[in-house]
Structure formats: C-alpha cells, structure tokens
C-alpha cells in the first residue's frame, strides 16, 4: 500500500477512535467498513461453502460470538470434537474448547499440538489467551509483549491490550486498543466492532467510566449493528441511566434475532420495572429455559452468566452459588471471585463468602472483605 494511502486510512481510523472517545454522543459518520448485513451474509456464505470441512469451526464461533447464535456454537464444538487427526485439528479443538471455557482440556490439546510439530507461535498465542481468561494475565503478559514487539499488528496489539486490561492496566490497554484499531486495514466490520466493544467493556466495567464505555459500544454497533453482545451491554448502560424505552427497544431487536439468554433476562427485568408484568415474566421464563438448555450442553461456558441470572431475575440463590463455585473452579479471575462471593452471601453462606474473600486477597485480587471481620478465618 502506498504510504500516502495508508496514512489516509490511518487518519480515518483515528478519527473514528477519537469521535468515540469524547463522550457518549452519536456517531458522527458512518464507518468505512462493509455493511453488517453484507458481512454477515458473506460469513454465512463461507460457512455454507466449507460445509463440514476443517476451518468452518472458526467461522461458526464468529457467528456465535457476534450474533448470539448458539446453534453455531454447538456445531463448531461438535465438528471439532469428532475430527482429531492432525496438529491443525488439535488447534481447532483447542480453540472451540476454549470458547466454551473448557480451558484445561484446551491446554491439553495445545500441548499435544506442540508435540506433533504445530507452529510454536500459534500454540503460544492461544495458550496466552487462555492464561488471561483464567485469571493469569500477569503470566501471559511477557509473552504477549514479546509477540507485539516482534509482530506488531492488530491481533498482537489487541491480545496484549486484553491482557493489560485483565491486569488492571487500563491506560496501557487503552493505548494499545487504539493502536490495534489504527492497524486495521480491512473493510470487514468484525475486528473493528470487536476492538471497540472490548475497549468499551474495559472502560465501563473495570474503569468505572460508563460514559466513555458507551461511546465505544456505539462505535462497535456503528460497524456492526447486528452485534448482539454489544447491544446488550449498551442496553444495560441505557437502563442504568434511566432510558428504559431505548434499552427495551434495543433488547427486543436482539431477542428477535438471537437466542441470547442474557438479553431475554434483562428485557424481562426491564419490562417488570416498567409495569409490563406479563411479558416480563414470560421473558424471564424463556431465559430460564435457555440457560437450562445451554448449561446442559456447555456447562462451563454459561456457568457465570447463569449464576448472575439466578442471583437476579432467576431468583434461585442456591443454584447461583453452585454455578458460581463451578465457574470459580474453572478460572480464578477477579470477576469469578466477586460472583462467587455475591452468590455465597445470597445463599446465606457468609462464612464461605469470607473464605473466598481471603482466598482472593491471598492471590492479590482486590475484593471487598470488611464484612468478614467477625469471622475467624484460617
């Protein structure tokens, strides 16, 4: 690419970044990426072309992630589980297992892939992402820093940013997310939407800046209006600041197009708050059935979301506690500890909550524990 042309694209991307960073205002211009409807049609087209051939799993996972299509997730897992002949197969199975939070088995696959000669960089990259997902970001960071330095690009920068975010290094992560976006030279909306989404999630949920977070969610949706998870997060923020009609409208669109139980549950809660008891209870009942179905197929993947559901509109604290413990056993992240502590308290297990707080603190995870002073901890 000519330098001048590259510069123009770079400036265009920067303009998008900055227009999203100044506040939760509207998106002032359309992104220079392919329309979401076309990109999704092309994703589906590729899935159809590949049929059950190796490689289709990643496309199915993308469909699941962006559109909340859990049938696609089921198919990806099923295909990956029944095809393990080559190192490439092991890598694909590791990715799908990781996607459904079967991290330990995914790591086993990576070790096996390494033994049969799969490129060590590819193995290390996926291993590092699993470390981040399981609460060991600090261990992954040196490797990811080396990778970003040796192979600077949106993928390596984005992975490092995610690790920094998990380690609480918000400013460093934000700088890298911006750099990763600037390095995107594609008209595909998917990577743009994803980077804006995770950047928004970091600001909202880790840095406590929902205004900035909302601006990034809007950018994600400007690139891919069909992005179910970004819509749900934005609806949460809208609901939190009292804009229930907008949140409901957004969630209704998600529910109409996907099988995402988080959207159903939140929609049900909001409808109850707005006095629409019949539809609210119906949505929550649907969410309950969806969680039951998903937990039966992918228990680890949905343990945390389901625990949150049962802590909230699902109103089953004992079940929430069981799921939260299961989730914590799978990955010791700050969020998993927080969820387990909340669930323990809701289930009347204050002593367990305090033990968990102590355990988190022993791992240098910052969890509130003042309520535990009256317990004698080991």
């Amino acid at each position: 690419m000519k330098q001048s042309a590259r510069g123009i694209i770079f400036l265009g991307v920067l303009a998008l970044v900055y227009s999203g960073s100044v506040g939760a205002g509207s998106v002032s211009r359309l992104p220079l990426t392919t329309a979401g409807t076309i990109a999704i049609a092309n994703l589906d087209h590729q899935i159809a072309q590949l049929r059950d051939d190796a490689g289709v799993e990643a496309l199915l996972l993308a469909r699941s992630r962006f559109l909340g299509d859990y049938d696609a997730l089921d198919r990806a897992v099923s295909l990956a589980e029944r095809r393990v002949r080559t190192g490439g197969d092991l890598m694909r199975r590791a990715r799908t297992r990781s996607a459904v939070h079967r991290f330990s088995e995914a790591l086993d696959d990576l070790a096996a892939a390494e033994q049969v000669g799969v490129d060590t960089d590819a193995v290390a990259a996926l291993r590092a992402s699993i470390l981040v997902a399981t609460g060991h970001a600090e261990e992954a960071i040196p490797r990811l820093e080396a990778d970003a330095s040796a192979h600077p690009g949106f993928a390596s920068l984005g992975s490092l940013a995610t690790a920094y975010a998990a380690a609480g290094r918000i400013a460093d992560a934000d700088r890298l997310y911006a750099a990763a976006l600037a390095d995107l030279h594609t008209t595909s909306p998917f990577p743009h939407a994803w980077l804006y989404f995770v950047r928004g999630m970091m600001w909202t949920e880790q840095a406590g800046d929902p205004v900035r977070g909302e601006a990034f969610y809007l950018q994600a949706l400007a690139h891919l209006p069909e992005f179910a998870t970004a819509s749900i997060h934005l609806a949460e923020l809208e609901a939190a600041r009292g804009d229930l009609p907008s949140a409901v409208t957004r969630l209704r669109r998600v529910v109409a197009a996907s099988s995402e139980p988080v959207a159903l549950a939140l929609l049900g809660e909001l409808r109850l708050r707005m006095g629409d008891r019949t539809n609210g209870l119906r949505d929550i009942a649907k969410a309950r059935r969806r969680y039951a179905s998903l937990l039966a197929r992918h228990p680890l993947a949905f343990a945390d979301h389901a625990a949150e559901f049962y802590l909230g509109p699902g109103a089953d604290a004992q079940r929430a506690w069981r799921l939260a413990r299961q989730n914590l056993a799978n990955r010791e992240t700050a969020r998993a500890f927080g969820l387990a502590i909340d669930a323990a308290r809701a289930a009347g297990r204050d002593r367990d909550a305090c033990l968990l707080s102590a355990s988190a603190q022993a791992r240098s995870i910052d969890i509130e524990s003042s309520a535990c002073l009256h317990f004698v901890l080991p």
Binding site: M1, K2, G12, T34, H45, Q46, A140, H305
Partner: protein
C-alpha cells in the same frame, strides 16, 4: 451485569484467518493473504478475459470469495493495450461499486456508465451501449485438487527437510521415489480419487462484456488485471459522477496462482504472507521486484519431476541465478494477455507462447473452461502444456464462453 470476560475472544480473529489458510494454498487467488481472508468481499478468487467469437467484444469476469460485494470497495478491471507483448501504451479501467443492496454502479473509463440492479442474467447495459454488466451469485468456475496439491507440497517439503540437496538455482534434486510420490499425491485426494475442492462453490461474480473499441486504444494486444480497492472516503452515489478516484489496493490478480503458488509457498507462513500482502498492494511499476521471489519458486517446481532444467523458458546455459529469469520476469508482469485480433480462445498463455516463438492465432487470455492449472503446473514442472495433472479435469458447473453472463448459474 458483566456479560463477557474472556481473553480468548480476541483469538477468534486470528483463528478466522488461520482456519482457512490450509485450504487456501493452491486456490487460484482465493484466500491468499490474512487481509483478504478476513474480508471475503475483498478477496478476488479468479479473473477471466477472452474475446467474443464475433471479434467485437472483450469478455471479463472476476469473482470474489464472498457471496455479496462490499458497499465500501471498488472492483476494477484494468485493461491495458499495446502492439507488442510486454509493452502496453494505453489503459482503460472498468470499475464497479455497489450499495448495501448490491445495486451496481459501473464505469468503462470515460466511455460509458451504468447504474442499477445487475443481478438478472441479462445484466444491464451502459447508457451508450458500450458495455453490459452482470453482478450476482454464480458458480465458481475454478477447479483444483487443492488437498492433493497441498499434500504434494508437503511431500516435497519433507524431502527437503530430510536433506534432499538443492542446486545453485534452487531446484531440488528429488530422487525418483520422492518425485513419484509428489506427482502421485498431486493426482489424488487423501489417497483416493482426486476431488475438486471448490466443487459446489458459489461466488459473487462481476461479468462485463465491453466493446473492443473502448479498450484497445493502444493496440490489439490486451493485458488484463483486476483489483479491489478501499477508498479513503465514502463513495458518493451521484449517478452521473465522473470515474471515481481509486482507493488503496487490497487485492489484485492477473494470471491464476501467482500469489498463492509462486510467492514463498514453502516459506514460513508469516514470511510468505508478508510478501503476498505487499504483492497485492504493489503498483505496476513495482511488479518486477517480485521476479526474484518467483524465480526461487520456479526452481522448486522444476525439480518436482526429478529433473532440473526442463521447465518452460528455462535457460540451461545461463548461470544459476538466471536460469529461470525469463519465465520469472514474464510471470511477474502478472496480467492475462489477450490477442484481441483473434476470435478463437482455447489456449491458456497463447500470447505468451507466441511471444516466445510458438506462433499461434489463439486469443489466449483465460476462459472459464480452461484447465489453466494443469497447463500451468505442466509448464513449470516439465516444460510442456500437459503431462502433470491434478486429476480434476473440469468444473462441476457448465460455463459458456458465448452466452452472457457466461458463468453457470449457482
């Protein structure tokens, strides 16, 4: 509520790219770099160009990996023209862009323009009737035993890893058993009969039939290449606008296989990807810099039959560094050459043959019915137009060279 907290999620984008890399090798131009693998609307599959049997039109077809065209990209056929092979003196760009409903807007230089739904088989005709456009889903005419080809590569790579020597021109000295294994794997898929990896594939296809008089200003020899471009600003949809300024190049294609088969096919993925990305974005003035990459790969192919020095256009008497230079230079000028004075199109590379002493009157170019891949590999391995095949003789679709829009319905 916190919905997603999974560091593995970013990996999806790497894996989307990585997932398709394996079958990509030896597709024509499909899935050639990470950039286009992640963006099927930008990823050109193949390019075809040939003259009509009445000698009045140039027929052009370009398909992409996606099923729909992007509303943010420009799709361009460059039709260069001249009087001598290798020297063109004029060019006519044919550009189309699309809106989010895939309504087309196309230009043939400054000569004609059309806007509308081009997805019906009859297509739409330019305002001045100088060209006709079809844009829609069609059968992908490319056919290739991709898995067998990859397996053949692996056999050659394994032999090199095990210590097979390589001569000073980068041609491997494969023993007879290894050579037999390579060629046998090329003819089979997973040890069985060869299958066309792209059987049943459909792709968004852009088909143009244009008056020769619009595109042959420089002479009767036409050199066609295609590209996708990302404009720096949004396309305006003013219907009578002048020919748009082309954006930044994303993908390009001339002959089949140049990127996927000739630019570091056995190099580490990262190395060959970087080279192919640069190749896709290179301006014509910089194309010859890829002759060295191609030359190195030509040496590899030359040894596949166990004999070094029998490739097409090889100079056996040249010093090793120049043994493959003529063919490398020819292929680095990556355009489909069409003799527009001819109404008969049956031979891939006919213009290149004529320019190198094999006189013929074929138009050359590439129709959707050529077994271009077998010709290509036969020339590169054994110096003849046949003899090395992949066991796949034709596409599953039936394509026409005379009835617009030529490519079989999906």
């Amino acid at each position: 509520m916190k919905i997603f907290e999974n560091g593995t999620r970013l990996a999806i984008f790497m894996s989307v790219a990585a997932a398709l890399t394996a079958p990509a090798a030896q597709a024509s131009d499909h899935l050639d770099t990470p950039t286009v693998i992640a963006d099927p609307a930008a990823d050109i599959g193949d390019l075809y160009a040939w003259t009509s049997s009445d000698g009045r039109r140039l027929n052009l077809a370009m398909n992409i990996v996606g099923g729909k065209f992007s509303d943010r990209l420009q799709y361009v056929f460059h039709v260069d023209s001249g009087k001598r092979f290798g020297k063109t003196t004029a060019t006519t760009p044919v550009m189309c862009r699309f809106d989010d409903r895939n309504i087309a807007e196309c230009w043939v230089g400054d000569a004609d323009y059309v806007h509308g739904d081009a997805s019906a088989a009859t297509g739409i005709e330019g305002k001045h009737r100088r060209f006709r456009v079809f844009a829609g889903l069609r059968d992908d005419p490319f056919f290739n035993n991709v898995k067998g080809t990859r397996s053949a590569y692996e056999a050659a790579a394994e032999a090199l890893k095990q210590g097979a020597s390589v001569d000073a021109a980068a041609c491997p000295n494969l023993d007879k058993a290894t050579s037999r294994k390579v060629l046998d794997r090329w003819r089979h898929t997973d040890g069985g009969p060869a299958t066309n990896f792209l059987a049943g594939w459909k792709s968004a296809s852009l088909v143009i039939s244009v008056d020769l008089g619009v595109v042959n200003r420089g002479g009767e020899l036409l050199a066609v290449w295609g590209g996708t471009y990302a404009p720096a600003t949004q396309a305006t949809q003013d219907k009578a606008s002048a020919f748009p300024v082309a954006g930044s190049p994303v993908d390009r294609i001339g002959r089949p296989l140049t990127g996927n088969a000739l630019l570091g096919p056995l190099d580490p993925e990262e190395v060959s990807d970087r080279r192919k990305e640069a190749y896709n974005r290179a301006a014509p003035a910089a194309w010859q810099q890829y002759a060295k990459d191609i030359q190195r790969t030509l040496g590899l192919y030359d040894g596949f039959d166990g004999t070094c020095g029998n490739q097409w256009l090889v100079d056996r008497n040249a010093e090793p560094s120049l043994r493959y230079a003529v063919l490398a230079k020819t292929l680095a000028d990556d355009r489909l050459w069409v003799n527009s004075a001819s109404k008969v199109c049956t031979r891939f590379l006919a213009v290149e043959f004529a320019a190198n002493g094999s006189a013929n009157t074929d138009c050359g170019g590439r129709t959707p019915n050529y077994d271009a891949i077998d010709v290509y590999r036969s020339l590169l391995v054994g110096g003849t137009i046949d003899g090395i095949d992949d066991g796949v003789e034709r596409d599953d679709g039936t394509h026409s060279t005379s009835k617009f829009p030529f490519l079989a319905a999906p």
